[in-house]
Assembly symmetry: C2
Homo-oligomer: 391 residues x 2
Amino acid sequence: MKKSSILIIAALTLTMIEATAQQSLWGGEEIISPEIHEDHTVTFRVNAPNASEVRISGDWMPPEGWVPGSVPMEKDNKGRWTHTTEILFPELYGYSLSIDGFRTLDPNNAFVSRDIATLTNIFIIEGTESDLYRVNDIPHGSVSRRWYNSPGLEKERRITIYTPPGYESGNEAYPVLYLLHGAGGDEEAWISLGRSTQIMDNLISSGKSKPMIVVMPNGNVSQKAAPGEGTRGFYKPAFMVPGTMDGTFEETFTDIMSFVETNYRVKAEKSFRAIAGLSMGGFHSLHISRYHPNTFDFVGLFSPAILPNTNVSSKVYQEVDETLRMQMENGYNLYWIGIGKTDFLYKNVVGYKEKLDAIGMPYTFIESEGGHIWKNWRNYLSEFVPQLFQY
Amino acid sequence: MKKSSILIIAALTLTMIEATAQQSLWGGEEIISPEIHEDHTVTFRVNAPNASEVRISGDWMPPEGWVPGSVPMEKDNKGRWTHTTEILFPELYGYSLSIDGFRTLDPNNAFVSRDIATLTNIFIIEGTESDLYRVNDIPHGSVSRRWYNSPGLEKERRITIYTPPGYESGNEAYPVLYLLHGAGGDEEAWISLGRSTQIMDNLISSGKSKPMIVVMPNGNVSQKAAPGEGTRGFYKPAFMVPGTMDGTFEETFTDIMSFVETNYRVKAEKSFRAIAGLSMGGFHSLHISRYHPNTFDFVGLFSPAILPNTNVSSKVYQEVDETLRMQMENGYNLYWIGIGKTDFLYKNVVGYKEKLDAIGMPYTFIESEGGHIWKNWRNYLSEFVPQLFQY
């Protein structure tokens, strides 16, 4: 045995020492949960010997009013609780557990999404319909978190930017999709809840979509960055933050476009610009695109938050009909609206549709099942993106 | 009232509708936890009326063996449990709760770090010692998740790259620090648990460190990406994965260097290259730097995983003494070793130190309090980085 072998790590020894340590240190358990079976049923397991009742609540269950439904898990004689679902449709699902009425995550599933202030466990049932959400063995784009200067808001702000495969190594200029989040979201929402990276990689790789840059800014003008990522540090995120819907975001949107068109190789012209957003981001997209009525050739309104209000005085919201007409006269390639049949905004969106009809403004209108949920917004993105920049 | 005002969202109305919905939908509670007081005590609160015992376990408590200590929380007559700490030293802390023996996260704190398969809530006590970990109002670098081709491993692999403020808008070439994670980690570990983005931004902004690119690869050769970010999808992460410490990572490390030196404006010469890592990453840094004995002018071994082994036959681990001597003869600027006094690797690292003494190889050796913990690795990074590239 050579003396120098002291330098060579004992993988096995270290595993033994540390695995034992870490198991207790981090509460690890030899439980697999969720276990996704080949037939697309799923078994959940949790070790809670002292609990009297353990329930699982998942977004595949019929909702009970606004609350997702839940079912009791079954206890075995070792204090382990299990539940196996029926066959689930290929989709990205969220769930949580309740232990004697206390909402908790599944301690054996390290994968979560944050929506506003709440974490939810996630898993994917694979299949044709959810293939767009998974990481496949194909070329991958890059995702950068950067900070841009907004003279209009007088601050440096964080922004997420997807560049398609080949961008960094090439010289080509690309079209740009500006993709906006809803109330309670931020520059992380489309990446984590929206699976935008995976959707873009998969659509581009399959040839269904043109390669493009996707710009995901933070639409809350009072924030520099997502909760936890800015100078405010860690704090409890709120659903609505001050100044979010008073026109300031729309007024200062050109700061974002300037940053992108200065810092990236983009085709800086109307025919290669798209803007889309969900809920509040749909509202933002609607107003930004008509406030700059000759700037975007593609507009996507995903469950747009259209509601009456007379309290807001921003110049952005003046002369709506006139600017819509101007947008129509200038021409555009696609004005796409998607809404779920049970969305609480459904009637309002239909009202907006009738307004467009009255003006004579053409649009594409999609009604889907379900309500104001991320499943719909991922689907809308997957339907919208292949229609962009197909020249 | 103008007809067009239908387009303007009622922020208040929407708040009312959705806040109610979301409160029940996501289990939101009007509780602030943790609440960090001005005197640096912290109050935790959790609503668990059905629980008989709620405990909090935090890494500021004296450990009980390998397990961090815990204390009971106190119940009020509304079923809410609270605990207030003593004054805490400025630091990034982790904690979890236990409800009738069931380990859970604090449902009112959305900020977590994943270590291997387990999530832990985090918070920061601000102050001189922890200022490096927070996001300050200074210029920020960019963080990109990219995929590089590794011919040696025959796969596309995910990598995290920090570029300093000014990189994207300038033309300058920068030095590079290769920063490696430990067993159970991946290309996300230094970003989330190590706060490397914040540490680099703060050190560069204060003038303590030179601007540099920081490259954080995935050191587990069998992985394409961190758990959840690769083609395997979501699965339970393991502490050790196959092939991680058999020399393959070291043998193929030049794939990473080639990618960086081809795709970034870097000073591709020894005097502007540093390599450092924690635990397994310290072991990797040790071997990569002597296997390429004239490549790195700065080497950082943070609690390096030095353990005897005779079972591994990679050419990387041959002729250790000879290549260390060659590395010494070629010269280097800094060979830095840090270890905690209660680290389980302490004796082994002292043994390695004696070996270096026997060879006559110069090094800087730092002993800190504590053991094999991220607090030490963040501190080591903060001490190591200001010593790099100071020409």
